[in-house]
């Protein structure tokens, strides 16, 4: 499991990189507040432009609006738009995990309904996993969906739901059968329309001054039975596989990248020794994690199970995303042209507690790695 193979991106992939850079240069109007944190900028117009370019759902079959491109091509597009600080939050979850989930487990009708809209940058999804009393212990969810004829009646509360107040759909993990001895049985995933099905959505202000996540309450919300993803009762397996998609991408080590860029700018072209060392130290970490992340893209391309490797990249990446601003703050000049640095630094520092929480806490990931090492 400690093998992260070398990958050389091919010419076609590099050509795509050049196209993405040209596109970003042409769309500077969308880069109003460059921030490489993937949940910060919600810009449907920008997402739609990416969709028109074919840069959402890139690896999916053409039949469902995808591009049938490689995981390396998808990797390059995602790292380029993140490094530029582009606003990607609107389509991010749909592209990264809701779409792949539907592709793998959804019905043909579900794929036909949702995937082309996602790939077009027109349908945005949220994740309905956490609840007020359910965090890392995901199998303890209490939201119920009770079968009534051709429908399910949903009752319960989801929380920390990023962009539920802006997005179109949420895929919720719910209990379709009462909890039994096997806690992982009786769970299902169901698609709920956030605009039309009667969910009550209340934004929760975060400590950084943003209102990105929400509490989403379902009171007797009735959902057609054909919105269950895959087989009823298969929710645990599905949600576990979905989380693996979530963990290895460049968004797991680039969230504070713009702080690094502004640090270099603030230090100028003749940095003091400690400033040069801080810049070099950060670069050395990013160069290494990036190559590890590309190795995981290679494993996905070969259809391998990446659960442990993805957890390992996320563990390294999320921790470093928090260390980066710590290194930068001590190296940045205290006077001079540092306004841009301070602004980016402060914004990132305030967001940083979330880096090792979202997508599986540091503690959960270390458990996944320990299992991979044969310790449990």
């Amino acid at each position: 499991m400690l093998q992260f193979d070398r990958v050389n991106l091919d010419a076609q992939t590099e050509k795509l990189r050049a196209e993405v850079r040209a596109f970003l240069a042409d769309n500077k109007a969308h880069l109003t507040q460059p921030n490489s944190d993937f949940v910060t900028g919600h810009d449907p117009a920008f997402s739609q432009k990416l969709g028109e370019r074919g840069w959402i759902g890139m690896t999916w079959p053409k039949e469902y609006g995808g591009g049938e491109r490689s995981f390396f091509e998808r990797y390059v597009v995602t790292e380029e738009i993140l490094a530029a600080g582009a606003p990607v939050s609107a389509h991010w979850i749909a592209d990264r995990q809701s779409g792949p989930l539907l592709l793998r487990y959804g019905t043909h009708a579900q794929r036909q309904t949702y995937l082309p809209q996602i790939a077009g940058g027109q349908a945005f999804f949220s994740i309905g996993m956490s609840e007020p009393d359910t965090g890392s212990d995901l199998a303890s969810v209490r939201t119920t969906a009770i079968r009534e004829g051709d429908a399910y009646r949903v009752n319960g509360t989801k929380i920390w739901t990023t962009d539920a107040h802006r997005n179109h759909f949420i895929i919720c993990l719910v209990r379709t059968e009462a909890a039994a001895e096997n806690r992982h049985a009786g769970l299902s995933q169901i698609i709920i329309d956030l605009k039309n099905d009667g969910a009550q959505i209340r934004p929760i202000a975060n400590m950084a001054g943003g209102e990105d996540f929400n509490e989403v309450v379902f009171e007797d919300v009735v959902i057609p039975a054909d919105r269950v993803v895959g087989e009823p009762g298969n929710g645990w397996e599905q949600v576990t596989s979905e989380l693996a998609y979530e963990r290895s991408g460049p968004e797991r080590f680039l969230s504070s990248f713009r702080v690094f860029v502004e640090l270099i700018r603030a230090c100028g072209d003749d940095p003091a020794p400690h400033q040069a060392a801080a810049i070099g130290r950060i670069a050395a970490h990013i160069m290494t994690m990036r190559r590890m992340s590309i190795s995981v893209a290679g494993m996905l391309e070969q259809d391998k199970d990446v659960g442990v490797e993805a957890a390992l990249v996320k563990e390294l990446g999320n921790n470093f995303e928090k260390v980066l601003p710590e290194i930068a703050r001590l190296a940045a000049p205290e006077r001079g042209a540092v306004q841009a640095f301070r602004k980016t630094f402060e914004e990132t520092l305030l967001l940083s507690p979330s880096f090792t929480l979202r997508g599986g806490t540091r503690e959960i990931l270390r458990g996944v790695i320990a299992r991979g090492l044969g310790l449990r």
Binding site: M1, G280, R290, L365
Partner: protein, 320 residues
Amino acid sequence: MTDANTEVRQLILDSAAKIFTDHCDKPLLDAAEQGQFPGGLWQLVADNGFDQLGTAGSGTSAGDMYAFIQLCGEHAVPLPIAETLIVNSWAPGQGIASFGELSGDVIKGVAWGREAARVVGLARDSLEVTVVETPEVVEQGVSLAGEPRDTVSAAGGATITLSADPYAQAALTRICLMAGGLQTVLDLGLQFAAERIQFGRAISKFQAIQHSLAVVAAEVAAAKRAAYSAVDALDDNRFVFEVAASKARVGEAVGIVAEQVHQIHGAMGFTHEHRLHHYSRRIWSWRDEWGNEFYWQSLLGQHLAQLGADQAWPFIATRG
């Protein structure tokens, strides 16, 4: 790399691993750290041609050579084999060779200088190196790992000019040795945690230990990937910067990994009798040889500062 090449490399590594497992044991390491050159082990290495890996006519590549050096790190092989291989790649020859840092009329920090038939002196920021035959040993010394690091006279040396930065090549040997040593330290930690029983169960069953080993595994994985990056850049104009990133990253892993795995071993790992220290002291010493993290971070950071903030990403986003 073609499949045939992969097979050749695996064959080399398998046969070398067998030799090291059989012969490079704790008594041999103890004796070497007391200054006794392990001549028998050297003979085995030379007889198998491992001292000529990567040279023209050997049928092996520089990549094979660095993979072998990493294996030497895994086994804490107490020979100047990495040094001999590098010197042979600069100036073909036979027998024990070594290198050190040229400082005035002496060459310092020469691994097993007292045993070397040839010593090369090299300096930062220079492609010119000085080759000295049967040099006079001015002073004997050892690293904190008990590895001989001697000062020899540079008198009578001949100057040759290399195509790739010698200081970075010297650093690359330490990167590969550390990558190997780190793997062994992780393995020892995993093994000890599974065997040591406290509170009625293996300590590997405790979450605190599991998390510690998860952190160690992540650092080791990163260090190994970073090591490959520097090896892959051998023929590239980014070579020095890739070595910089790699040595800085691997060196950072060393501190974390050694500390955590010693903690897991408790007092037993603090004894001379346990073999953990042969590896932990080596990785500690290798991170300081041929430029520590600060040196390489600064070199890389200086380059990025000159490229400018908006060129940082294009510099990082390489194909390989």
